[in-house]
Symmetry: C2
Subunit: 299 residues, 2 copies
């Protein structure tokens, strides 16, 4: 039978260019994937995949099938969404999230998705934005909420919300003035996200431009960054918006400075060629929530 399972399996093999990868994505074993593809090729009487080399590649017929299969799978989802009630939307959406979002409105998103589609499972992966971008490109994620702009070819994106970045200090660090200069701040080490992230680069540029030397610690984990700020090791460079959810009240505070960092601009992004309807719906809900979230941030 040319059924949806075979087609979906083929889609994943084609997109990931790997039997193993597809097996993992489909929560099954690699031989099972092998079998389904073999069965499909047998049924259609044509070779769909070339497995000569280290890389799996599509034959001409395979590319043809890819287009048809994508349409069919998409239309099945659309059928389920149109005909079924909300609980009919099933499956797993792999959602990549930047850590800042986790500490602001991600819980709200999850709740809203759960309400709208009770049988839809969301697999959340927290990572820094460049990794999320890579994982979108390698079809390892269906959707991501990350720092933009997302310029990559092969990814689509829509703006979500914007968070100002500020300097955040713990209780042990105190300044006399109300508005602090860059020089004063640079007395302490600064702590922010990994070297390949946008905030790290922006921060380094900021200090280089003003000729002030600053020591910058980088950590991929926001928890670490916050811990270091709380312990007085340094000043965190993060969106102040997350202070209230990530630490006890009063333990951290935003510092008013003369200089300003470019804000975090968040986007929802997904692979251009491969948007499942479920992922699309989650994206729509994210956009809606972010729209509302924008206001409180303007205060």
């Amino acid at each position: 039978m040319v059924d949806f399972r075979s087609l979906e399996t083929f889609l994943w093999v084609a997109n990931l260019r790997s039997f193993r990868g597809a097996a993992e994505r489909l929560h099954t074993t690699q031989p099972a994937v092998s079998m389904r593809i073999a069965q499909l090729e047998d049924e259609l009487g044509v070779r769909l995949l070339e497995r000569d080399r280290r890389q799996v590649s599509l034959t001409e017929k395979g590319q043809l099938l890819l287009r048809h299969a994508e349409r069919l799978v998409r239309q099945r989802s659309s059928l389920i969404e149109t005909v079924g009630d909300s609980s009919a939307m099933r499956g797993v959406v792999r959602l990549g999230v930047s850590e800042t979002i986790v500490h602001t409105w991600l819980p709200k998103l999850i709740e809203r998705v759960n309400d709208a589609y009770p049988h839809l499972e969301i697999e959340i992966e927290v990572d820094i934005s460049p990794s999320l971008r890579e994982r979108l490109l390698s079809k390892n994620l269906d959707l991501a909420l990350l720092l933009g702009p997302v310029g990559d070819y092969g990814l689509h994106s829509k703006p979500l919300c914007s968070y100002p970045i500020g300097f955040v200090a713990g209780e042990k660090i105190k300044f006399r003035q109300k508005t602090i200069s860059l020089e004063a701040i640079a007395q302490y080490p600064l702590v922010t996200f990994s070297r390949n992230t946008q905030p790290y680069i922006a921060l380094r540029e900021l200090f280089e431009r003003s000729g002030v030397h600053a020591k910058i610690h980088a950590s991929a984990s926001l928890a670490t960054v916050v811990r270091m700020a709380l312990d007085g090791i340094g000043i965190a460079v993060i969106p102040p918006a997350i202070i209230k959810t990530i630490s006890a009240p009063g333990r951290l505070r935003a510092i008013r400075t003369s200089a300003s960092m470019p804000p975090f601009n968040y986007f929802v992004s997904w692979p251009a060629s491969f948007a499942g309807i479920a992922a699309q719906k989650v994206g729509e809900i994210a956009i809606e929530i972010a729209k509302r979230e924008r206001r409180p941030q303007r205060d």
Copy 2:
């Protein structure tokens, strides 16, 4: 899973308005159909069919699903046809055929279809055209080659070929003249197809118009008609084109008459709402063969 099997089952239940009928059509049992539908309704979380009354009917959601499911099933066939090689076309086409066709070019059609689609099975049902029409309407046949014109709402059709009808006599019946009058013919009983068929009606009208009384035997079986002509019981009113395949050479001959019957116009016809791709292909081949068949008939 909302898979093709469930959808196809639903399509047949919807079209035949019967679980039993669908089960028969799908070569399975009625409980199996019941189960698949129940599973589909369960999966989508909506009621698709109303089984209150004696008649199964579609709910609003059911009608919605019908449209989507038809498109999906059709696109799957199209996928198989586009991507697969010819041997990939599988399934059964229920073909209704008028008896005249059986004795002219049906074997050629079967052969051609077998060549083009070796895995396609054809289930041939021979019957008189009005029955074929009914069975098309009740979705009991996928395609029919029958006497037209096919005016029914709900059926599409395309012209195939035209066979003149003539008076055919066996060896025992002899006339002196070369061209025989209606009166001379009416000395013998006439034998043709059943009362509700076009030739029977045309024949009766022909004699009523000319004020000649004729005794007309009717039989649904062409073999019987021919037998009666061979035995000299009467004169058969059939397309002379089938003489050479249905009896030994010289045993039957066409009689030249002054009057003329309207010719048999054959059409290929199928349910407007429910054309499977396989049936469509068989129809196309039939049209092609009939086109070639037309020439020899002009002699």
